[in-house]
C-alpha cells in the first residue's frame, strides 16, 4: 500500500540543512497496525505528515496504492488524500466556530456528498461514537477526550483505507487513552490500516508492528 524509498526531510537553518528524517525506506501493506515510536523530536510527526501528504519530502520516492505521490500535482494528491486517508492530531484541530455536527459534516462537504446522504452519514457516525447528545456543542464546550473522539469520528466518517494518528492520546488521561486505543484495535480488525505515532509503550502494545525512529534515522522495525 505504501512504499517509501530513501525519504529524507530537512529544513534550511541559515546556510546549512538540518536533517529531520534520513533515508527512510519502508513498506506498509494494507491491514497493518503500526506504531512509530521515538523520543520527542525524533521525526515521528514529520514522517506521518509526509505519509499523510500534509507535507512534502525533501528527497526520496513515495508511492501510495501504486501512485507516485512525489510526482503528483497538488490537485491529484489532494483527491488521493481525500479518498483514502483520515488524520487525527494530538491537539484535535477541530474548527472552533463549528459545532460537533458541523465539524463532522465538513469533510463530506469537501467530498461533495449530497445532502440526505450526508445527513445519514453524520448521524450514523454520531451514533457509532455515542456523541449524539453533543452534536450541537462547540469544541470548547467538550472535554479533551470528547474532542478527540470527535476528531477520530471526523477522520473516520468517510471510511478511509488508512488512518493516520499523531499522538492521539497525548493530551488525554489514561482511561480516555485506552478507549481510543480499543477503538483503533476494533477498526483495524475491521480492515482499516492504521499508523500511529506515539511514545507510550502501552499504546504501542496494541499494534502489530513497531518502527523506532531516533534523530531521523530508522532504528528498528519489528
Amino acid at each position: 500500500m505504501i512504499e517509501l524509498r530513501n525519504i529524507a526531510k530537512y529544513y534550511r537553518t541559515g546556510s546549512v540543512n538540518t536533517y529531520v528524517l534520513r533515508r527512510i525506506t519502508l513498506d506498509i501493506r494494507e491491514g497493518e497496525f503500526i506504531s512509530i515510536m521515538g523520543p520527542s523530536g525524533a521525526g515521528k510527526s514529520t514522517l506521518l505528515n509526509i505519509v499523510g501528504m500534509l507535507d512534502d519530502a525533501s528527497e526520496g520516492e513515495y508511492s501510495f496504492l501504486g501512485e507516485p505521490v512525489h510526482q503528483l500535482n497538488e490537485k491529484k494528491r489532494a483527491s488521493l488524500y481525500k479518498e483514502h486517508m483520515g488524520f487525527i492530531f494530538q491537539s484535535y484541530h477541530l474548527i472552533d466556530e463549528l459545532t460537533v455536527y458541523e465539524n463532522l459534516e465538513t469533510p463530506l462537504l469537501y467530498k461533495k456528498i449530497k445532502g440526505s446522504q450526508r445527513k445519514s452519514m453524520v448521524c450514523d457516525t454520531l451514533d457509532r461514537f455515542q456523541i449524539v447528545g453533543k452534536k450541537d456543542l462547540f469544541p470548547n464546550q467538550l472535554s479533551g477526550g470528547q474532542q478527540q473522539l470527535v476528531g477520530v469520528a471526523r477522520a473516520l466518517i468517510a471510511n478511509p483505507k488508512l488512518l493516520l494518528a499523531d499522538e492521539p492520546t497525548g493530551n488525554l488521561h489514561s482511561a480516555q487513552g485506552k478507549e481510543i486505543m480499543d477503538l483503533f484495535k476494533k477498526l483495524n480488525e475491521e480492515g482499516t490500516t492504521i499508523i500511529q505515532a506515539t511514545h507510550s509503550e502501552t499504546n504501542s502494545a496494541y499494534s502489530r508492528r513497531i518502527i523506532r525512529l531516533h534523530d531521523g534515522w530508522l532504528e528498528s522495525d519489528e
Binding site: 500534509l54 490537485k75 488524500y81 474548527i95 465538513t106 469533510p107
Partner: protein, 792 residues
C-alpha cells in the same frame, strides 16, 4: 458548503465584534465619502448634458479686444441672431438671452422678489430641456409683455392653480403668463426664475449695434453640420459688417462656438451667466475622495489579513479534512466580498443621512434615489469587487498556499500576517492623512490670510441696497441720500454703479495722444462725491472730484495705481493732467489700489467718474451699536420713497465674503475628508493594536514575570507605531509641501507655508496613533501575567 462558510464567517464575526465593527464601519465611511465625491463629480460633469441633442447646442461668444489685450466675452452682438436666422440653413434654432436685475413681482397683493429674471426668445423653450407644466411652449414668448414662469415662482404667487392667462406686474409693467415650466435643475449654467419675452425688452441705443452689446446667443446646428466648418464661417461675421471701424483702432471681434455642455467647467469668459465651476476642484475632490477610500481599503485589507492569519489553524484543518486550495480561496474571498457588501449597505445609509448637508455644500439637488442610477450602481459593484477582492486575495493566497503540516504547527499565527506589509500600510495611511491635514490647514490659513488682509477700503458697517432700475435719477439722488441719512445711526450715504465684490463696468481706453496699442480694459465705477470718503479710499496724487460741477467740469476721472502702471506712466505724481480716450477725459487724481474682487486675483486697473445715471447701489454707513433702530428707519424710508419695490439689502462685508465661497467650500470638504481619513486610519490602528497585543500576550506575560513595569511594556508596544508615524510624516511632507505650494501660487496674494502647519499635522497624526495604540497597550500591560501565560 456555502452554509458552512457563512456559519463560520458569521460566528467569527460575532466572536470578534469589535474588530468586525471597526473593519466594516471604517470601510463604510470610506465608501460613503467616495460615493459623495462621485455624485459631485457626476454633477459637475453633467452640466447641460440633459438637453435634447445637447451635442448640437453651442453658445456663440466673442473674442474681443486688441491683440495685446484679448478678452473672451460670453455673448455677441444682438444682430448676429437675425443674421444667422436668415442666412444660415445649418442653424436649426437660435435664441438670445439677456439677464434682468432682481425685481419685485406682484399678483394682486402678493409680492415676491425674483432674482433670476431673463429676457429670452421662444426657441429657448424647445432647444433646452424645459418640461411645460401649464400652457404650451409654442409661441409662449413671441408677443411683447408675455412671461413664462418657473414652477417655484408660480407656486409662490398662485399656489397649485394654473396661472396661464393671468397677468402679473413686474415693477410697474404688466405681463401675461403664457406657460409654466419646471424649475431649472442645478446642473445647468442657465437658470431661470421668470422668462420674459425678448420683444418686451426696452429699446435702447446700445442694442442693435454690431459693435459691442454682448447678448448671450445659443444655436442648435442642424444634424450633420460640422461645427468647426460653421465656426470658421461665422468667425469674421462682425468684421464683415464693421471691419473698418475695428481696424481703425486695432480691435478684433472674432466669433467662436462653445459647446453648451462645456461651458460650466471650461468656459472662462467675461460675463458668464453664473460663476463657472472649476475642473481643478473636480480633480482635487476626486483625489481626496479616493484617498479616503484608499485609507479605508488598506484598513480593511490589513485587518482582514491579520484576522485571517489567526485562522491559520482553521485553514490547516480544512485542508486536512479535504479542502482544495481553490475552495479555501473561494471561502476567504467570499467572506471579504460579503463584508464589503455589508459596508456598502452602511455606506448608502451614511450617504442618505448626509445628503442634505452635501447638497448644500456642493450646490447639488440630489435625492437619495438618484444614487441608484446605472453608472453609480456599476461603480458601487466595482467598488465591492475591488475592495473585497483585494482584501481577500492576499489571505486567500497566502493561507491556502502553505502545506497544512506547516499551518497546523504554527502556534503564533502572526508569522503569516506579513509584518512588513502591515507596517507599510500604516505608513501609507498616515502619510495620506498627513497630506490631507496639511491641505486643510493650508486652505484655512489662506482663507484667514485673505480675510485679514487690508482691502484698501472700509468694508465694515456698510449696508448696501441695490436700487431698482429707474427708481433714482440724477435729479432725485441727492434728496434720497438726504432722506436716508436723516437718522443718527446712519452716518453716511453714497451712490455708485458698483460696490466691491459685485459686477462693474469695463471699458477699454488708451491715453490720448499715445499709440492705440496701449489700449487696455479698465474697470469703471460711477460714483458720487461722497464715495471716496465713505469707503475711506485714499487719494495719493492730484485732487478728488470738485464739490460742485456742471457739464464739462464733471469730466475729470480718478485712476488707481494699477491703471497708472498698466498705461506705463511710471510716475504717479505726473499722472494728473493726462487724458484718456475714448472721451478724452482728464485724469485729475490717483487713488490707492483697493481690492475690487477677492484676493485670488491681483488688483485690476480701475477708474472712477462722477455718475450721471444708473444709480444702482446706495451704500449706507450704519452705526452697528444702533443696528435695530437704524434698520427700522432704513426700511421705513425705503418703503416710503420706493413703494413699488420690496426692500432688499445686503451687508457689504458678508457680500464681499462670497468671493471666498469656493475656497470656503474647498476647506470644508477637505477638512471633513481629512478628519474622516485620520479617524479611519486611527480606527485601523486601534484594531491592529488590539490584535497585536493579543498576539503578544505571552511575550508580555513573560516580560512582566521577569520584572518589566507597565511603563516598559507600553513603551515596547507604542515605540514601533511612533517610528512608523514619523516615517509617514517624512514621506508626506515633501508631497504636501509641493501640492500646497502649487495651490497657493494660484492666488495673487497668498500666505506662506509655515513649518507650524507641518508640525501640527505631524502632532495630530501622532496623537491619533498614540491614543489608538496606547489604550490597547495599557490594557495588555496591566493584565495579570499569570492569566496571560495560562493560555499557552
Amino acid at each position: 458548503m456555502i452554509r458552512n462558510y457563512l456559519t463560520v464567517a458569521l460566528r467569527n464575526f460575532l466572536r470578534h465584534k469589535g474588530y468586525a465593527a471597526i473593519n466594516i464601519v471604517g470601510l463604510a465611511f470610506g465608501m460613503a465619502s467616495c460615493l459623495l465625491v462621485l455624485l459631485f463629480v457626476w454633477h459637475e460633469l453633467s452640466y447641460d448634458t440633459y438637453h435634447p441633442d445637447h451635442e448640437r447646442l453651442y453658445r456663440i461668444s466673442t473674442m474681443g479686444g486688441t491683440e495685446a489685450d484679448v478678452s473672451l466675452i460670453a455673448g455677441c452682438s444682438e444682430n448676429v441672431t437675425p443674421h444667422l436666422r436668415e442666412n444660415y440653413p445649418e442653424v436649426e434654432q437660435v435664441f438670445r438671452i439677456q439677464p434682468e436685475r432682481p425685481r419685485t413681482v406682484r399678483f394682486n397683493d402678493q409680492a415676491v422678489q425674483v432674482d433670476n429674471i431673463k429676457y429670452a426668445e421662444n426657441d429657448l423653450l424647445t432647444m433646452f430641456h424645459m418640461p411645460v407644466i401649464h400652457g404650451s411652449s409654442t409661441g409662449a414668448l413671441e408677443r411683447p409683455h408675455t412671461v413664462v414662469l418657473t414652477r417655484p415662482i408660480a407656486e409662490q404667487l398662485f399656489g397649485v392653480d394654473n396661472p396661464v392667462g393671468q397677468t402679473i406686474q413686474i415693477d410697474t409693467a404688466h405681463y401675461e403668463i403664457t406657460a409654466v415650466v419646471d424649475a431649472s435643475p442645478t446642473n445647468t449654467h442657465l437658470k431661470f426664475g421668470i422668462i420674459v419675452s425678448w420683444s418686451s425688452m426696452q429699446e435702447s441705443d446700445w442694442r442693435h449695434s454690431w459693435d459691442g452689446g454682448f447678448f448671450k446667443t445659443y444655436v442648435k446646428l442642424a444634424e450633420g453640420t460640422d461645427p468647426d466648418a460653421f465656426e470658421s464661417q461665422i468667425a469674421t461675421l462682425i468684421h464683415e459688417q464693421i471691419g473698418e471701424r475695428l481696424a481703425e483702432n486695432n480691435r478684433q471681434a472674432i466669433l467662436f462656438l462653445q459647446p453648451v455642455s462645456d461651458i460650466h467647467l471650461y468656459s472662462h469668459c467675461r460675463w458668464e451667466a453664473e460663476a463657472p465651476g472649476n475642473i481643478n476642484n473636480v480633480y482635487i475632490f476626486s483625489v481626496v475622495g479616493l484617498i479616503v477610500l484608499l485609507i479605508a481599503c488598506l484598513n480593511f485589507m490589513n485587518l482582514s489579513t491579520a484576522r485571517a492569519a489567526s485562522r491559520a489553524s482553521e485553514v490547516g484543518t480544512r485542508k486536512v479534512v479535504g479542502a482544495a486550495r481553490t475552495q479555501l480561496m473561494g471561502q476567504f474571498l467570499g467572506e471579504t466580498l460579503l463584508t464589503a457588501l455589508l459596508a456598502l449597505a452602511i455606506a448608502l445609509l451614511l450617504v442618505d443621512v448626509s445628503l442634505p448637508a452635501f447638497n448644500g455644500l456642493a450646490g447639488t439637488g440630489y435625492l437619495f434615489a438618484d444614487v441608484f442610477n446605472p453608472v453609480m450602481m456599476m461603480i458601487m459593484g466595482g467598488m465591492v469587487l475591488l475592495v473585497g477582492g483585494v482584501a481577500g486575495i492576499y489571505p486567500a493566497f497566502v493561507l491556502s498556499s502553505h502545506r497544512p503540516a506547516h499551518m497546523l504547527r504554527q502556534t503564533n499565527a502572526g508569522h503569516f500576517g506579513g509584518r512588513n506589509f502591515r507596517r507599510a500600510v500604516v505608513v501609507i495611511q498616515f502619510a495620506l492623512a498627513v497630506i490631507m491635514i496639511v491641505g486643510t490647514m493650508t486652505v484655512y490659513k489662506q482663507l484667514d490670510y485673505m480675510r485679514e488682509q487690508p482691502l484698501g477700503f472700509d468694508l465694515k458697517q456698510k449696508l448696501v441696497m441695490e436700487m431698482p432700475r429707474g427708481a433714482v435719477t440724477f435729479a432725485t439722488h441727492n434728496t434720497m441720500k438726504y432722506e436716508f441719512t436723516n437718522h443718527p445711526a446712519v452716518t453716511a450715504a453714497t451712490f455708485s454703479t458698483s460696490v466691491p465684490g459685485r459686477w462693474n463696468y469695463q471699458w477699454r481706453c488708451f491715453p490720448t495722444g499715445e499709440a492705440e496699442t496701449n489700449m487696455h480694459t479698465i474697470n469703471w465705477y460711477g460714483v458720487d462725491r461722497d464715495f471716496l470718503e465713505s469707503y475711506d479710499i485714499e487719494l495719493i496724487a492730484g485732487e478728488t472730484f470738485l464739490p460742485d460741477c456742471r457739464g464739462a467740469m464733471c469730466e475729470g476721472i480718478l485712476l488707481n495705481e494699477a491703471a497708472v502702471r498698466t498705461f506705463g506712466w511710471g510716475s504717479i505724481d505726473e499722472t494728473p493732467g493726462k487724458h484718456l480716450w475714448a472721451e478724452n477725459r482728464p485724469v485729475i487724481g490717483v487713488i490707492r489700489d483697493f481690492h475690487l474682487k477677492g484676493l485670488q486675483s491681483p488688483v485690476e486697473p480701475m477708474g472712477m467718474f462722477i455718475m450721471g445715471e444708473d444709480f444702482r447701489y446706495l451704500t449706507l454707513s450704519i452705526d452697528v451699536n444702533n443696528l435695530r433702530p437704524a434698520m427700522t428707519f432704513v426700511q421705513e424710508t425705503y418703503d416710503e420713497l420706493i413703494p413699488d419695490e420690496l426692500f432688499n439689502f445686503f451687508f457689504l462685508d458678508e457680500d464681499f465674503d462670497r468671493q471666498y465661497r469656493a475656497e470656503q467650500k474647498l476647506g470644508t470638504i477637505f477638512g471633513a475628508f481629512a478628519l474622516l481619513g485620520v479617524m479611519i486610519a486611527g480606527l485601523g490602528l486601534f484594531g491592529m493594536a488590539s490584535y497585536s497585543a493579543q498576539l503578544r500576550t505571552k511575550e508580555i506575560g513573560v516580560r512582566k514575570v521577569l520584572g518589566a513595569t507597565v511603563g516598559n511594556v507600553v513603551n515596547l508596544l507604542t515605540r514601533e507605531i511612533i517610528v512608523l508615524v514619523v516615517t509617514a510624516n517624512a514621506l508626506a511632507w515633501p508631497v504636501a509641501y509641493l501640492a500646497a505650494d502649487e495651490w497657493l501660487a494660484t492666488f495673487a496674494y497668498h500666505t506662506s507655508l509655515g513649518w507650524m502647519t507641518f508640525a501640527w499635522a505631524a502632532l495630530s497624526a501622532l496623537a491619533v496613533a498614540v491614543v489608538a495604540v496606547g489604550y490597547q497597550s495599557f490594557k495588555a500591560a496591566r493584565a495579570n501575567p499569570v492569566e496571560a501565560l495560562k493560555y499557552e
